[in-house]
Symmetry: D2
Subunit: 278 residues, 4 copies
């Protein structure tokens, strides 16, 4: 019935991005090269034992520990990112991509780079035909992000800038711009100058005080179609006979703010109605 599939498309090949999953919540993500060794805290795995295996196979380390080898989801790339800053959570990242219309070929600015969680998602989503411009004023933080994206092979579509964004962004006419900085409200002129007219602006802020400052600033800078929301995720235990939500959940990461820099301004026309019918 189905199509014939060449064997090598079902197996793990040199250069593939893989995720090792072992007991004790061990997750390790890397690009695989032949004749190499992967060092985990559950022993050493030889890459030649992995290459040629079917995806979803179990392999062993030198001391007998077992690992699954799978393709990482974008969620996995984000969750397993070595980090030295607070990162955006997958629940928030997914909604940001949709609201900023991030897709193949888009050009997008983010600041700050942080540990590169959103950078990873943006680079993944725009692909090689798109471009991500990532700003941070701390070179050390950005170096971690660069290393993180290198490890998963996503740096070809990213330009990094160490720069105080108060001086403005270098690019012009980008499709979307995301501010993940505490005082996002201070950089709306710079954001407007870099964005395509009518482009997509987003921000994540942890406190309500910051959100109200940003709301004021957005109105002063004649951004329209402003929306503020929170995404909450509730996990369930997967026991079919005792199906119930998990005992604990993340209570808060941040408020998401979206808006559009408009070429002309009519406050009433540019208002998003109460989203009661969404």
């Amino acid at each position: 019935m189905g199509q014939q599939v060449p064997q090598d498309e079902m197996t793990i090949n040199e250069g593939d991005l893989i995720e090792l999953i072992g007991r004790g919540n061990l997750h390790q993500i890397l690009k695989i090269q032949p004749d190499d060794e992967i060092h985990t805290h559950k022993g050493v795995v030889r890459t030649n034992d992995i290459i040629g295996k079917l995806w979803g196979s179990i392999i062993q380390s030198h001391n007998g520990n077992q690992f699954y080898i799978v393709q990482p989801a974008l969620t996995d790339l984000i969750k397993n990112l070595p980090r030295n800053t607070q990162i955006l959570y997958p629940k928030d990242v997914g909604f940001v991509l949709l609201n900023l219309a991030i897709g193949p070929g888009k050009r997008v600015i983010e600041a700050g780079t942080g540990s590169g969680a959103l950078t990873t998602a943006l680079a993944y989503a725009v692909g090689l035909s798109g471009r991500v411009y990532s700003y941070d004023n701390r070179e050390d933080l950005q170096r971690t992000a660069i290393k993180n994206l290198d490890r998963v092979g996503l740096n070809d579509q990213v330009d990094y800038h160490v720069r105080n964004i108060e001086e403005g962004f270098i690019e012009r006419n980008v499709d979307a711009l995301f501010l993940d900085v505490p005082n996002a409200y201070d950089y709306l002129e710079q954001a407007r100058a870099a964005l395509k007219p009518g482009g997509f602006f987003g921000s994540l802020l942890p406190t309500m005080n910051q959100v109200t400052l940003l709301l004021d600033s957005l109105k002063k800078n004649t951004f329209g179609f402003i929306e503020v929301c929170e995404i909450m995720i509730r996990y369930y235990r997967i026991d079919a006979n005792r199906f119930r939500p998990s005992d604990r959940m993340v209570g808060h990461t941040g408020f998401l703010i979206f808006a559009r820099p408009l070429a002309q301004h009519d406050p009433e026309l540019a208002e998003t109605p109460e989203p009661d019918d969404i």
Copy 2:
């Protein structure tokens, strides 16, 4: 300071996808062609009045009503979809894309097509280098979806099949597969046959009874790394002086289920730990 931008990159051009936004929650999304007319319930707009304008400009209909012309977000494409079925909500779609690792170049199956909400998001995210295979057993529903994706110019990367998926999927070795059908638990053999080993499986089901049946079926079919969650979205009123959540919110759309068809099975090793540290 910034780069020079050619004027035509900041303006609305022939062939662009535009969104008209007018008073009374009027949203209309279409590809713009010259010498054409756009009929809205607030009057007729001539496309020649739009082409050449800056994005984010205000234009007028023949009877003096005003509209913003902006680029639609992916969220907007989904929310404003003409529909004859329940659709996936943006809050869920964003998280699905991330968890199924949908990005440029990926090949993904969905069933059913429905009104094409998820189809739209998948087609947008995989781009022209990827491919979406969309199944429905009702030709009439699928016709609506095809028309919907045509309107926004996303059909080049989609293959539609009118087919009972009990007979199996035609494609093989796809990266991801999403089942948006009430009895998803009946099609896991078919899903496994179509998916790349270790590939990404997802489903959305509205009731707890369906979820427990799917959980049983996933275990019987040796899928691993099973996760069940719900995404809740809470909007806020944007008055900075009276900042507060909206009075009402969507209480439920569905439970999201994710899993991986593994080449070998070790139930304990393939268990996702209680996601308490996410």
Copy 3:
């Protein structure tokens, strides 16, 4: 096996508080008197047809419509209150009673009276051995509340004051005090003067801006053990074969704030730890 129950304890008697429930979400709550008529929009019911019936019986109006006769829950008293102001919701009221330690014999102040929703719950909970002091500066609103509590027979334990609370409360040494006024932060000196040292202070405020003003004022007035929370309620459809949350839910009513006026102040000792282990 069980105890003998005198028949008249199982039946509806003169003077009982009853709730009529009819089709079309008809709920009517009143004290029943013999030889009387109850006028509903589904017809007239004679009280003599009700008295002597078992609780939970079905009776008919003059034109053949059917009604259940049951004892109202405190939730029902609140939900079916004739109102001309925003009222506290049952989800919030229950938690307020617990946090203010409201029980038989307690003396408690509330301001404003509003439509009497919280008044009803407080009067019910303190009983005839306790006392509720209810303040409002609008006599017309308070008159509605008095009528509402009269109808359900709870006025014997309530004193009403038409008074601007800026002038202070008349009572002293009350066990608890609840401020349901927009500028609660302006009346903390008055609250402290009326409360027993260490007593229970509570407030409900709809916006984040009001909450932060109250937090500042509570600290300035050396209140301790401050807590802020929100109660969310999620209803489920009761179809056992399609068990799922309701489609829509209340998104927000207000933030609840609790604190204690302390005799001596040590800010660090009077701090409630992050409630992560609750």
Copy 4:
């Protein structure tokens, strides 16, 4: 302006229920007696140092540690209960009291006793004019509860039974009955026999599977006005300049189910409408 208050009503007296609050989340609740010592892990406090002090004062232990002395809220009684079983949470207890119309003078059955969290709240709310009948089939658990209620002086209004509730409840015509047992659905005949016709039935169950079994059983036993809900509580950090929800929250305790045993049954008339307008 205000009333005169006798000094001894503002001070801590012999026999009062007090809560010591010390650093490191130390909470200790007890009835105070003269010439006694309170042993805490932060040192020994002499009760004679407490008696006569204003409520909300700070006192010291023998080794210089400081404690606030306050009146415990009902919430505090529950949260600080020595326990050997899962207990009902305050967020749930408050809503249960309201929905079961628990107040002064009411007679209510609960099973099982567990550690006495709900027993405490029920005994507090019904007062000395009411009565709580608490069932458990494990004498050892119940002994803990008795000790817990003794410590806070609430046992005068409670009768304890060590008994398998399959054999039925001893009391008849009680106002309300709450089942906190895993297989609540097995005891609805017994519940109906003990409840006043039309009385208040409630239950808390952790899994959806249990809830659906109870829903089936309630319908079979002609209970009406069935409601299922969940109460979620979200705490906020109390820093007015950085106002935001707490990072983590309780994800799930249980589903609350309420229903009424009706004297006559008309399924359609006894249906609670979708609570969309609550």
